[in-house]
């Protein structure tokens, strides 16, 4: 005894191979449900090529662990956004970032926000003067060394400045509210940031690793290097950035993880 291996015609009880629209024996129609034998997903979360964002650390009003499935072509995140709203985070612009698909690829685009979108650096990333980055709770900007303005006046008086030491670039801490905090001029070619024994130290920042990250100049170019820190180093994106599975993003105070189904 065995089970019929195909659809069985309800009129004449003949076997109808899959894909046939009519019964070969009696001509009766095969119902539409029986014709499509594609396997369905349990849920939309499994849809291939679709991504979701998981709130790792989030807006108080929205809670943590929340996930957003990116099923449409564009998804706006922001303080007043409909799709991915973070209503209580005042560091987010009303319309802050857009998660959109370009072909198969998910990209995030900064919608001209005040505070930008930060992506976790995997190992090291190139960085330029004017770029911003995050370590622990701290926000930094890379600045150029100002031009020497200590030359003589027209009347041949020389400006007395503090002793200057050669410095390739400088790192400026930005405080909540936008005021500049610590400024550290690179001692030779490197500035190291961490909780202790670095060039810039934040002993009370519990999200920093003892040695967290460094900015290094080699030749003409600067590099931001994460020193295998526990919580990572994040760099502000310019314009838009392609995302892949396992990327982490900071939007204001919100930390998001990107999951892309293969």
């Amino acid at each position: 005894m065995e089970q019929a291996r195909n659809y069985v015609c309800t009129e004449c009880a003949s076997a109808v191979p899959s894909g046939h629209k009519f019964c070969g024996a009696c001509g009766a129609g095969v119902p539409h449900e029986a014709q499509t034998l594609e396997t369905k997903f349990f849920g939309a979360l499994q849809m291939p090529g679709k991504a979701r964002l998981i709130v790792v650390r989030g807006d108080e009003a929205m809670g943590e662990g929340l996930s957003y499935l990116l099923q449409a072509t564009e998804h706006i995140a922001g303080r007043e956004a409909d799709q991915i709203p973070f209503p209580s985070d005042t560091w987010l612009s009303p319309r802050h970032a857009n998660f959109l698909y370009r072909g198969e690829k998910l990209v995030v685009r900064d919608e001209g926000s005040l505070n930008g979108v930060y992506i976790r650096v995997r190992g090291a990333a190139p960085i330029k003067v004017g770029d911003h980055f995050l370590c622990g709770q701290q926000v930094f900007r890379v600045d150029a060394t100002p031009r020497d303005t200590s030359g003589p006046e027209a009347d041949q008086t020389y400006f007395y400045s503090s002793p200057r030491r050669p410095s390739a670039f400088r790192i400026t801490q930005i405080l909540e509210g936008g005021m500049d905090g610590i400024v550290c001029c690179a001692h030779e070619h490197t500035v190291q940031i961490g909780r202790e024994e670095c060039d810039i130290n934040f002993p009370d920042d519990v999200y920093l690793s003892p040695k967290h990250a460094r900015v290094e100049m080699s030749g003409e170019s600067l590099e931001l290097i994460d020193e295998s820190s526990q919580n990572g180093t994040y760099v502000r994106i310019r314009g838009e950035r392609e995302l892949s599975h396992g990327d982490y993003l900071f939007l204001g105070r919100n930390l998001l993880r990107v999951e892309v189904t293969a």
Binding site: W91, L114, T157, V183
Partner: protein, 371 residues
Amino acid sequence: MIVCSRCSKDNQDHYKFCLGCGAELPRVSGKPRSLSTDTPPGGSTGSGRSTNSPRSRAGQAEALASAPQMELEPTPMQAGPPSPVQEPRSDSLPAELAPLGAHTSPCPHCGAGVPENFRFCHVCGHDLHGEAGGEASADASADAPAERVSAPAVAEAPKPAGTRARLILIQPDGSEGEMFPLSAEPTLIGRSSGGIFANDAYLSPEHAEFRFEDDQLVVKDMESLNGVYIRIEPDVPIELFDGSIFRVGQEILRFDGPSAPEPAADGTQHMGSPHRGYLGRISLLIGRDSTGHSYPIPPQGIHLGRERGDVVFPEDGYVSGLHCRVHSEVGHLFLTDIGSSNGTFVRVSNESYVPQGTFVLMGQQLFRAEY
């Protein structure tokens, strides 16, 4: 007393956690003991950089200073920055500030292995020298006032007729040099007034004016490029205002009050590092309009020094181990010299009284006013 860095509450020395908020308190170097120099806290700072020989470091700073070496400089001052006393170098550091020793001995109080050059146990804070406290105060007194430049008793020189006061040049080695007489009438000095001022390229042609108001000598800065600095008395707080400039060793520092951009029109606030109620910041002046290193001032204030403090200048041999502090009292910010050898100088804004015996820094030269 340990001041909690999170909530600013005062805690007793032996507390490991803050009574106010429970935050872990610093146990070793972060222990801000009394400001007087008689109990230097254990701990080491700047041990990595302090091994350079003092001469080479001073030379380095000199060579890197943006100012050119003036050929017209006739006196031996040309290489000498104005503050004359080279601080005791790290090779003569008190033992407790030297780099960590490899050898340890058990603390009699808690049994932790304590490096032998520590005065206090780094685990429980126990005073390992106990009654050997006399040694500490001896160290301290050797550290600071003994090597003061100022000879308090000045040999009475006969005053030329019409002279009401004198500016006495202090030479790089601390000895007294030439004397410049000031009459009762206003006296303009600067590069164009010749004499000892003629060849100081850091003096403006018309730099400052000295005059008498009743019995007080007054100096007025004639909008000079580099200004007139007056040494402040130790342990007397001087208020700082937005833009105030002061000098510590060879370093020129500027205080800037708190300032922040407006939030965006759509209500978005500027993202940033946690703002711990900073009261402004101090920046190193490295050009007319440019600053170098900069540090915000937290509500509990900051200490500056060569070896100790929140902001250290390990490469400036004219800065004392612990030099001065910037602190807040009743909503105002003050600068206090805490017994430095070479003093803390404040730039005169417009004009200032010059009390008898005050050190005045103009251009590259240091003077003492006597009247």
